[in-house]
């Protein structure tokens, strides 16, 4: 058995199974637990009611992100219910001895941005968070997945989870992407091909030369949206790109070279067999724009909104017709002819420094269209400071963008950043669900460069033809 070739998932899984009691699900050890204000209050309350402690508080890290205002942080939080939830997180972290990156802390930010940038996320780890975009951390070769609040309580109390082993799904991307095509376009394309439940019950491992060529931040964008393909986790085996990214980060191991030697083992064996493999060509991907209300309803920028009758089986056709009605679009409309009211650059998918650089390069020397309200929300305090050091904030402000404080913001609109009914938004976030960015709001998912170009043009435009200044 010891010689059976194993995937990356197998290796991390095997290294973390504490025991498998007869007739029960395995007890899986959890290395890192990330906590935010929305999905944790009831878990801490559960601990209190049962008189339980947090087993390993030093393995848990918390930050408020979903609910926080992105305007002036010196002002009090206007919404009393939001304030109560954030105060509850503060109180819980104090009571249970958990490290909190609070509002006002230089390192506060979206939980999936700060984990990697602080070096909390490391290869070979198991990482969980009460948030479905926890898959992001798989970009560093970790097994990272979202959990519900009851499971948050379970991890706090036991530093383990009861989990059935998921299946393995390899998405291999051969070749290379063309200039102007980004990691966001790649993942939207993959979701469009395998569907919103193509990864159900599975952990996706992204492999192939096109994936290897991505920067670590680009890999995070890809892994982040694994959940939109139905997979709880997405992962990319660690390599030199990963190690170079982690070296020198605050929570990286002090004996870094020794850690690298251990991390290098977390690569799938060449002969390992996945439960399923699908192969794609990077050269087939063009800039993507979603037209509907789930992320698989996506088409290339050179395409058109489909006729619902052309969309798969009757259930998909009904879904497409409903989506077009909600989106206020007619089949056959060219994507480049869709006008926009709002542009949002941010979220755990696309709010890192490379995303902001890509958007700023598009924006430089241009003005936001008079009909568009555009905003940039950096993913963390660090990203914001780095962008300001590079002068990116000036580029955005000079063009007419708003430049905000870090948080989840209009990805889900739990804070005051929302769409009004009927408003149409080009968004670098991850979900185009009905009402996601505000009741009646219409979301089109795109890359940061495509969002920036749409803000300038006032409608979608092919970034491959952009006039960079």
């Amino acid at each position: 058995m010891a010689d059976t070739p194993r995937t990356l998932l197998d290796k991390i899984w095997d290294a973390h199974v504490v025991c498998t009691p007869a007739g029960e699900l395995p007890v899986l050890a959890i290395d890192r637990h990330l906590v935010h204000e929305v999905t944790s209050p009831q878990a801490f309350e559960g601990l209190r009611l049962a008189g339980r402690k947090v087993r390993r508080p030093e393995k848990t890290f918390a930050t408020p992100d979903h609910n926080v205002p992105t305007t002036d942080r010196r002002l009090p939080i206007a919404d009393p219910v939001s304030k109560q939830q954030i105060d509850t997180l503060r109180h819980n972290c104090r009571e249970f001895g958990i490290r909190l990156f609070d509002l006002g802390d230089a390192d506060q930010g979206i939980v999936h941005v700060i984990g990697p940038e602080l070096g909390i996320t490391q290869p070979g780890m198991t990482i969980v968070c009460g948030d479905s975009h926890t898959a992001t951390h798989g970009a560093l070769g970790a097994l990272a997945f979202g959990i519900g609040t009851s499971e948050v309580e379970h991890v706090l109390a036991t530093q383990t989870l009861r989990q059935a082993k998921p299946k393995s799904l390899e998405l291999r991307v051969e070749g290379a992407m063309h200039p102007g095509v980004t990691a966001k376009d790649l993942v939207l394309y993959l979701i469009g091909r395998i569907s919103t439940e193509g990864g159900a019950g599975s952990v996706i491992e992204y492999t192939g030369p096109c994936i290897r060529a991505l920067s670590l931040e680009e890999r995070m964008t890809v892994c982040n949206m694994s959940i939109e393909a139905g997979a709880r986790a997405g992962m990319i085996a660690p390599d030199q790109v990963t190690f170079d990214y982690l070296r020198g980060r605050d929570f990286a191991p002090r004996d870094f070279d020794r850690a690298v030697a251990a991390w290098e083992r977390f690569v799938g064996d060449p002969a390992a067999v996945f439960d399923r493999t699908e192969i794609f060509q990077g050269g087939d991907v063009v800039p993507q724009v979603t037209w509907g209300t789930n992320p698989a309803q996506v088409v290339g920028i050179d395409g058109a909104v489909p006729d619902p009758a052309s969309c798969g089986d009757p259930s998909e056709q009904a879904g497409a017709a409903r989506a077009l009605e909600y989106m206020g679009l007619a089949g056959g409309t060219k994507i480049v002819d869709i006008p926009l009211d709002r542009v949002f650059i941010g979220s755990c998918t696309n709010s890192r420094i490379e995303d902001l650089r890509a958007a700023a390069n598009v924006v430089r020397g241009h003005r936001v269209a008079a009909t568009v309200h555009a905003m940039v929300v950096p993913g963390s305090g660090r990203v914001k400071r780095q962008a300001e050091a590079e002068g990116l904030d000036r580029v955005f402000r000079d063009a007419g963008f708003e430049w905000r404080e870090a948080g989840c913001s209009m990805c889900l609109g739990m804070n005051p950043d929302t769409l009004s009914p009927g408003q149409r938004c080009a968004s670098t976030s991850n979900r185009n669900f009905e009402g996601r960015q505000g009741k009646g709001g219409r979301t089109h998912l795109v890359s940061p460069a495509m969002a920036a170009a749409a803000a300038i043009a006032g409608h979608f435009t092919d970034i491959r033809d952009w006039n960079y200044r």
């Binding site: 219910v81 519900g148 919103t196 159900a200």
Partner: protein, 201 residues
């Protein structure tokens, strides 16, 4: 946790695929710090019109489906956010069972933590249930028996379903996952000690 053994109830058909947790419980209701009281917000944007009155078009607002406790849905039910507020809202509204061809993984797990049973049935069986549910006449009822693994009506529909044996036992006995895991605290401590030793070199 509330145990689940058998259940008989009215079936409400929600004829949409890919129902996401943002629809089940919209984000403006996630700011509460309690586990209870979410039922009033279930499917809020579909259930209520802009002025706050019930939307007569929405299935749960049909008077004949008052008191429904079994939700019949299409594939990939519960996709999107991990928010456990979604099963909390369904349970608080009164649902004990959700039947669909497929569920999103996190939602599926979250149901078991809340005494609610998600049942996967083949697409053609779900189609048949939609036909039976939407027929004229008195509200359509199903009987669910978790120990036997059966779901049936009074008119000849009877199917078996499976759930993970551990999850089934926890539901049948109303067992608390954390309590069960803490029985293995010695193994956890030993695992952690070995890992800490390896890290220290």
């Amino acid at each position: 946790m509330q145990a689940f053994t058998t259940h008989v109830g009215i079936v409400a058909p929600l004829d949409r695929a890919n129902v996401d947790t943002d629809q089940i419980i919209p984000k403006q209701f996630l700011k509460r710090i309690e586990r209870t009281g979410f039922g009033q917000f279930l499917f809020f944007d579909w259930r209520f019109l802009g002025d706050g009155t019930p939307n007569p078009e929405f299935v749960l607002n049909q008077p004949r489906l008052a008191g429904a406790s079994i939700l019949l849905a299409r594939r990939n039910f519960g996709c999107g956010s991990s928010r456990e507020h979604a099963p909390w809202a369904l349970a608080d509204y009164g649902f004990r069972v959700v039947v669909a061809p497929s569920f999103a993984d996190i939602f599926y797990n979250n149901c078991f933590q809340n005494g609610m049973l998600p049942i996967r049935l083949p697409e053609e069986d779900v189609e048949e249930l939609f036909r039976r549910t939407t027929a004229e006449g008195p509200p359509y009822r199903l009987h669910v028996d978790l120990a036997a693994g059966t779901i049936a009506d009074d008119a000849g529909f009877r199917r078996s379903f499976t759930v993970d044996p551990f999850r089934r036992r926890c539901l049948l006995e109303g067992l608390d996952d954390i309590g069960l895991t803490l029985k293995h605290v010695e193994e956890i401590t030993a695992w952690e000690a070995a890992q800490d030793a390896a890290a220290a070199g």
